[in-house]
Amino acid sequence: MKQTILIVDDMEINRAILAEGFGDDYNILEAENGHQAMEIINSTENISAVLLDLVMPEMDGLGVLHRMNKNGKISQIPVFIITAADSAQMMMDAYNMGAVDVISKPFMINFLKCRVGNIIELYRRRNDLESIVDEQVKRLNKYNQSLVEILATLVEFRDCESGEHVKRICGLTEILMTAVSDMFPEYHLPKHEIDKIVSSSVLHDIGKICIPDAILNKPGKLTKEEFEVMKQHTVMGCQILTNIPDVMDKAIYNYSYDICRHHHERWDGRGYPDGLKGDEISIWSQVVSVVDVYDALVSPRVYKDPFDHETSVKMICGGECGTFNPKVLEAFNSSIDKIKAYRIQAD
């Protein structure tokens, strides 16, 4: 399939010379001023190059470059300035605004075709490479995430769970983190950061792999000493993560580490392991705390039967499971329907 070149020049004769020169090898589009050129650039996909005159009525060549810088097209489409070069400043301005080459009139059409063709080929190879790299990065991220999920699920199987808890934590974290971010500007996070937090939440209990079976799977209430051992899963989880930093990207590692260590901290400072208080605890760890407690309440455990949704919400909001940030609880309450629906669907 032929590639497409846009020729922009106010003089028909100049457009005709270029169109004749390039017409055998490329599809040709023409514009006689900058406004027409921008309309074509914005409405046409896959323009391979723009041959642009500088001095034109209505909008000149520098105006076109300015707009292509503003809408980002300049990094996608190579622009060749073709000008009766008599102002060094204008040519310099064109280079500074992203033109790949400045070609003086009069030009030799053969040389011009070689110069334009070479750059089009370079851009094509660059674009191909970029899409290959994008695809590989996506696949790598997917493998990494799978590895992380496998790790978390293995830990959970030891905990006599089915592996569904970690998946539900992801879904619930997404719902509550999004609500907190939308409702409270001081906690606002862009979507791509929330996605990373969701991915990281899966590892919150990885430290449980280090807890003896007799304690982890004890059907009754833990003694004080046993509970002290159990509390160590937060710190042990971080130790495991420090040994596998390369499994995940840096941001996910940092979120995972923080959530692992602090998802049992409480707003009033009575949590563990560090006794952090209020906003000393990161908002993502606060969010995972609430959803972890919620999911534990509504799920059966070796030491208890499941509570229903309404009772669980009442226990969390009534402070029976420790004190939480009032803003997180407000977001939790406003998301109750979504949380309940998610829970029913997950079951």
């Binding site: 106010d10 003089m11 028909e12 004769i13 100049n14 005709a16 010379i17 004749e20 020169g21 005159d53 001095v55 009525p57 000008t83 009766a84 008599d86 102002s87 009139k105 009069p106 030009f107 030799m108 059409i109 053969n110």
Partner: protein, 116 residues
């Protein structure tokens, strides 16, 4: 006598032009056929008379490019000089340059129109 022979006598560099047009004489002649309209569209001298030197500069710049691409060397040189003088804010000297080549430009346009 052909168009290119006549234009060569009027100062056009035909060898240079054919090199520019990949040896395609037919294409060159077709493009020459568009020159009369281009000159009419980018008329320069009236802008000197009305004192609109920006418009004079724009059109002189345009014709400089066109004459260059068609290798009409004396007109290319005259418009190049005029553009340089206008950029140096010397409109009177620029106008003299254009005035000087207008008769030759007329001969060239007449010649092309004869073959159009």
């Amino acid at each position: 006598m052909s168009l290119t022979n006549e234009l060569a006598k009027l100062g056009a560099d035909i060898d240079d032009a054919l090199q520019r047009f990949m040896g395609n004489e037919k294409l060159y002649i077709r493009m020459l056929g568009k020159l009369p309209k281009a000159v009419a569209d980018a008329e320069v001298i009236s802008h000197f008379e009305s004192g609109n030197y920006d418009a004079a500069l724009t059109n002189a710049h345009t014709l400089k490019g066109v004459m260059g691409n068609l290798s009409i060397t004396p007109l290319y040189k005259a418009y190049s000089d005029a553009v340089a003088l206008l950029r140096e804010s010397k409109p009177n000297e620029a106008k003299i340059k254009i005035d000087e080549i207008l008769p030759l430009q007329k001969d060239i346009i007449d010649c092309i129109e004869k073959y159009n």
